[in-house]
């Protein structure tokens, strides 16, 4: 099996899904023109166009809410938090809206939120946090934290 980095694996997975399913789209800060702060969506804008690779205004809560609304009407959004730390700005939309929709009124909310951290970039207090712990208490959100140690 070919060895690739996490970044390459994530990029490949998103690329495959976007090719396979037209309802999959990506939104977040600098995901389009720049190709993502970590280059996870490099080349996607050219390949899928600016309605499926959306550069959003700097507004984590707003675009997470928008992803929820799009998911409720049949889309399959992938939200990119530029750095995992910024997910705190979208906490309300995630734990009160996305997480509880199905339990409260039987509406599935299939969104994927990517929250990269651990890039060893010496980011300090606002670009280095491991945020998964914030969500451990939130039963309704599925936490996935892939890692590999040598």
């Amino acid at each position: 099996m070919k060895e690739i980095t996490y970044l390459e694996a994530i990029k490949q997975a998103m690329d495959e899904e976007m090719t396979r399913d037209p309802s999959v789209f990506i939104l977040g800060e600098d995901v389009g023109i720049y190709g993502g702060a970590f280059r996870a969506t490099e080349g996607f804008l050219e390949k899928y166009g600016d309605l499926r690779v959306l550069d959003t205004p700097l507004s984590e809560s707003g675009f997470t809410g928008a992803a929820i609304g799009a998911a409720l009407v049949g889309m399959r959004p992938i939200v990119e938090m530029q750095f995992a730390d910024f997910i705190s700005c979208a906490f309300d939309q995630l734990v009160n809206v996305a997480a509880k929709n199905h339990y409260r009124w039987a509406a599935a909310t299939p969104i994927v939120v990517r929250a990269p951290y651990g890039g060893n970039i010496h980011g300090g207090a606002f670009h280095s946090q491991c945020i998964e712990g914030f969500f451990f208490k939130c039963t309704w959100i599925k936490n996935r934290c892939p890692f590999y140690s040598i």
């Binding site: 789209f25 309605l51 499926r52 959306l54 959003t56 205004p57 507004s59 809560s61 707003g62 675009f63 997470t64 809410g65 928008a66 992803a67 929820i68 609304g69 799009a70 998911a71 409720l72 009407v73 049949g74 889309m75 959004p77 309300d92 939309q93 009160n96 809206v97 509880k100 929709n101 199905h102 339990y103 409260r104 009124w105 039987a106 509406a107 599935a108 909310t109 299939p110 039963t139 309704w140 599925k142």
Partner: protein, 325 residues
């Protein structure tokens, strides 16, 4: 005014149905028969009735908690809503949630989260999906005057304007956010001024005039549907009850309420319909009788419905994954 007679009568019917149903919720609350709180739209019914009645069937509404008229106009029945309030299994949330914190996508209604203006962003997302798929549908989202101070309001307005999304944002400006008057909420005269900062057109309407709300909503939906982008509509009105039914609203000057009582939306609509020879007092009376019966039937249905089983509270935490085809 290009509105069919039958539509005008339907607007009246939904105003009355909303008022009567919520009056009943209020009574039941004071009798201690409601689980949790009871919020009503008393005095502001024309807003949710008007903006909802102007939607097309496949459009989406993302209401807020004073939008009982939206649930009813979109087709969620008084029976299910009464059962919802009484915590019954036949309620919209099957007994999992109280009162107004629900939705039903079968009727194009997105559930309301208490955190105000969250639904502005969610509604914008539905509009974004319509735009991506090239569908000629619109979304409408609503919040109160207080909700316009929150970040989600501003983030959603900005996103919708930048991407020219097919959405109309409604503000139920009922002068008070719980006990906080408008002057402590914002330093501007009209909430609509907020739209200017996003390059979004806005309209100010009499929120107690259902015909006006309906007409302006329809115009702005048409514009959004045809690629013209979003509009913000400020509906000026007055909350005639407390924040919730537990709240006597002593902080609201009585004379202000007396003034607004004269502008009651149902009273205005009756005058409009009879004054313009659109209908007769007798015809309106027959609608009132129908409404009364529907509310009574709803209560009977809810009373006879079972409570959910205790084990039901563990169900529905996760959706069933969609299988690969």
């Amino acid at each position: 005014m290009d509105i069919k007679r039958e539509d005008l009568l339907q607007l009246y019917y939904y105003l009355k149905l909303t008022r009567k149903l919520e009056d009943r919720f209020s009574s039941l609350y004071h009798q201690g028969r409601i689980l949790g709180g009871a919020w009503t739209s008393n005095g502001t019914e024309a807003i949710s009735v008007g903006y909802s009645y102007a939607l097309e069937k496949n459009d989406i509404a993302a209401p807020y908690f004073r939008d009982m008229g939206c649930f009813l106009v979109r087709g969620i029945t008084p029976k299910r809503l009464m059962a919802q309030y009484l915590g019954k299994k036949t309620g919209v949330s099957a007994g999992k949630e109280g009162n107004v914190h629900v939705g039903d996508l079968n009727f194009g209604v997105i559930g309301f989260p208490s955190h105000l203006a969250d639904n502005y962003a969610v509604g914008a997302g539905a509009a974004l999906a319509f735009k991506m798929r090239g569908e000629k549908k619109v979304a409408v989202a609503c919040t109160g005057d207080g909700g316009t101070s929150r970040g989600d309001f501003h983030e959603a307005m900005n996103l919708a304007a930048v991407r020219k999304l097919p959405i109309v944002f409604i503000c139920n400006n009922n002068q008070y956010a719980y006990s906080t008057p408008l002057k402590l909420q914002m330093a501007i005269k009209n909430v609509a001024e907020r739209a200017l900062a996003y390059g979004m057109p806005s309209r100010i309407v009499d929120g107690n005039n259902v015909v006006e709300v309906f007409t302006v909503a329809r115009e702005t939906y048409d514009m959004a549907r045809n690629g013209g982008g979003p509009t913000f509509i400020e509906c000026k009105t007055m909350r005639m009850h407390g924040h919730s039914e537990h709240d006597s609203a002593k902080y609201v000057p009585r004379e202000l309420l007396e003034e607004w009582k004269k502008r009651d939306p149902i009273l205005q609509m009756e005058k409009y319909l009879i004054g313009n020879d659109i209908t007769t007092k007798e015809e309106l009376d027959s609608i009132d009788i129908r409404v009364k019966k529907e509310v009574e039937d709803a209560e009977l249905f809810a009373e006879e419905s079972p409570y959910p089983n205790p084990e039901d509270c563990l169900k529905g935490v996760y959706a069933t994954p969609i299988e690969e085809e």
